[in-house]
Amino acid sequence: MSIIQILFFALSAFAIISAVMVLISKNPIHSVLWLILVFFAISGHYILLNAQFLAIVNIIVYAGAIMVLFLFVIMLINVKKDSEPQKQFLVKLLGVVAGGSFLTLLVALVKQTGQLQGRTLLMKDGVIGLIHPLGKALFNEYVVPFEISSVLFLSAMVGAVIIGKK
């Protein structure tokens, strides 16, 4: 097994275990911290795929900004540790069965798809994840969506302030 495969399996196991811990933590703050670990594992996968820009953006935007926002809201509204009402056991079981059968269905579909058989992906080479080509594409072909996203941010900010002020 090469070093890339070892890193892949280690990061995958790390991501899946942390994602399961997000679900089974009783305290929402612990869920947020586990989710930050999931995002770090996914950033590790991006680095493994040589998508360096996305790895850094993922850490800054998700683990840095969004998760701090979640933590801030949880601490602001002061959810008590034991006060979270639990769903009935039957509903939980049905949820797990539904998620598991969804996974089984999609895995079976992927196993059958002929177009994916024998396809490999480029792990550490390739320049498309670096800042230079991404910046060129972003500010040439995708400059209009980029500007529209700034309008989206402005409207989201106004919306959040208006909803929060009431």
């Binding site: 495969q5 892949f8 899946i16 994602a19 997000v22 679900l23 929402p28 869920s31 989710l35 999931v38 996914i42 996968h45 991006y46 795929l49 998508a51 820009f53 996305l54 953006v57 993922n58 935007v61 998700y62 969004i66 926002l69 979640f70 809201v73 509204i77 959810v79 769903k87 509903v91 939980k92 049905l94 797990v96 539904a98 998620g99 598991g100 996974l103 999609l106 895995v107 992927v110 994916l116 024998g118 396809r119 992906l121 390739g126 320049v127 498309i128 994840g129 991404l134 594409a137 972003l138 995708y142 969506p145 996203s149 989206l152 941010f153 989201a156 919306g159 909803i163 929060g164 009431k166």
Partner: protein, 111 residues
């Protein structure tokens, strides 16, 4: 690395997110599980972009095939950040009105 490994990983993360949405009652945790699903899709987009980039490089060594997917991932992150800010404002407003973040309170939206 076969593409199937990445597909299985992303499917597992996505299914964990689906299960979380179905089993938890805390609105904030449900929201976090939606973020988890978004991230699984992002990772799959990047994996497929690298797959097509690898095959395009064989024919043309200066090809930038697959760069669109990474731009899409960037825009998904942008939209997710905007979505989270509005969604958390809604959750705070809901907490102010009902003093709870239990999503079962939302099954009757009037009052």
């Amino acid at each position: 690395m076969p593409i199937q490994y990445y597909i299985y990983l992303c499917l597992a993360l996505f299914s964990i997110g689906v299960t979380g949405v179905l089993t938890r009652r805390n609105a904030i945790v449900v929201f976090m599980c939606i973020e988890l699903m978004l991230n699984a899709v992002n990772l799959l987009l990047v994996a497929f972009s690298k797959m097509f980039h690898g095959y395009a490089l064989i024919e043309n060594t200066t090809s930038t095939t697959g760069i669109d997917a990474q731009i899409f991932v960037f825009f998904i992150m942008v939209v997710a950040a905007a979505e989270v800010s509005v969604g958390l404002a809604i959750i705070v407003m809901m907490y102010r009105n009902t003093h709870s973040v239990d999503i079962n309170f939302l099954n009757r939206l009037k009052n």
